[in-house]
Symmetry: C2
Subunit: 308 residues, 2 copies
């Protein structure tokens, strides 16, 4: 038996990265490949709820991919993938982000599109192959779509995401609205998290021109409650900035019921965040009305502010 | 009417870059987009034969894409695309090469796969959309596949390329074998080319680590005849190396009937070419038995030789 191909999502895995890796690995294996899903870090409370609900194991932890043949899902940027990337063979990429800091030595299969969730593309690949996912795999893809689109309320959500979710709800015999809200709320229980864990739960590092930025995002149903820990969080953010030599750190707290966010911004170029969102920080806080999507509503204005 | 989206292949356009741009533009327009194909340079004798045979105009010349919205076909590397790339908005990419020196600020649609020809992917996109290309557009895609796969004899050719070409031959009512050979031979008439034109006909520049390489390729049915001009060609190559500050230039002459190549290699790091092909140059010439594909048989060994 040849060595297994690893299917992996990004660091600080979210529900899409875990579920798309499992679902795409299952599809590849149905078509004769020998793959296993892996994860680059601990899973979130939300993902834990999803895996338990659909009775699935979490993927094996694998943080170094040197010498491996891999399929990337839900990411492509060097700063977001596993160690040893330069010594891995990249066979495929299924993603819905910008392409940046990514290169291969040889041609590869790529499926990318401007949709809200990688699992939407994975489900479309099932359909193109004429295959129907197993019931629990369909449930995982459904969960990924609910997670990435905040139950279709994110501006990243497309008709294709909604259509895929509706079909997956039928296959997995899931009450989409009820399950979706339960799942999102399960992910907002942050009580047992240390400050470091909060910062790392869903943090991505970006390089824009010569600046190094990190943007972390947490979902909640009570922004005020989280902000009672503001002073401690700011201390942890400063420590993290020093350790990782960041120019900017944004900690985005998103209210998933009301679809608003606030952000703590710090770092020697925190002025970039003020410029990006056209406001002066109030006591270290940016108010981001209607902002829920890092990819669509946070990274593009930051990129423009860096470049102009 | 909103501004037209430009669909473009690579610099020094080959038949695939021209025909895929025309065919994909036609598909996008069938689905409601407003696109036009453009070309980044003069077309080859082979492409001229193809366009005349299927009674199509050559695309408009456009060498700068600053401020434009664009769809890239058959390439992604910065060194192979139009000027003004940094100020263009990249909407889509349809390609079959490695990803390198390519980045976008925002998510985009990407369709890439390990097939012999971009037009194979374009034809698959027609089928996914439930559409049949017009007869002459089908002829162009067929021609691109014949060109890129050297009538299915290149190691880059896959079953999907053969299947697409066979279906396109039916739609375009073309005798695949006869037309294919006529077309390839039409492209080998190099009599009226200056040395500079020969070097530039199908030349691509690559950056591998910190080295700048150019690999030009011409097709012929008579290698010996072309080599009677060897001394003049070497002079032109040296001039070109100085002008473009290249570390290596390889001029690959491919016999499309016998599927062999020879290459003139020059530049201060020409030793890399010798290392890549495990031989010492004989009077400035490398003998590349069975080599016909730059992408599959020349760039990978050069990349390995640079990196090791």
């Amino acid at each position: 038996m040849s060595k297994e191909i690893l299917v992996l999502g990004h660091k600080n895995p979210d529900t899409d990265s875990i579920c798309s890796a499992i679902a795409y690995s299952a599809l590849k294996n149905k078509t004769g490949a020998n793959t296993i899903p892996v994860r680059l870090g601990e899973i979130s409370k939300e993902t834990e709820y999803v895996l338990e609900y659909f009775n699935m194991e979490k993927p094996k932890l694998q943080t170094n991919i040197s010498g491996e043949s891999v399929i990337l899902v839900d990411h492509n940027e060097r700063t977001q993938t596993a160690d040893g990337f330069e010594e891995a063979k990249i066979l495929e990429l299924v993603d819905h982000h910008r392409i940046s800091n990514f290169h291969t030595d040889e041609p590869l299969k790529v499926r990318m599109d401007i949709v809200g969730c990688t699992s939407t593309l994975v489900f479309e690949l099932y359909k193109e192959a004429g295959l129907t996912p197993e019931k629990n795999i369909a449930g995982l893809m459904l969960s990924a779509i609910v997670s990435d689109t905040l139950l279709f309320k994110s501006p990243t959500c497309t008709e294709r995401d909604v259509k895929a979710a509706e079909e997956l709800a039928v296959i997995s015999e899931t009450n989409l609205e009820k399950y979706g809200l339960d799942m999102l709320i399960a992910g907002t229980n942050l009580d047992d998290k240390t400050n470091e864990e909060l910062l790392n739960m869903d943090m991505k590092v970006f390089e824009i021109d010569s600046l190094k930025l990190a943007v972390a995002q947490v979902s909640t149903v009570d922004i005020e409650k989280l902000l009672t820990k503001k002073a401690e969080l700011e201390k942890s953010i400063d420590d993290f900035i020093s350790k990782e030599k960041l120019d900017i750190f944004m900690f985005v707290i998103t209210d998933i019921l009301n679809n608003n966010s606030v952000a703590l911004a710090a770092g020697k170029r925190a002025d970039i965040a003020e410029k990006a969102f056209e406001q002066t920080m109030n006591n270290g806080i940016l108010t981001l009305n209607g902002v829920v999507s890092r990819k669509k509503q946070i990274i593009p204005p930051l990129t423009k502010a860096v470049q102009n």
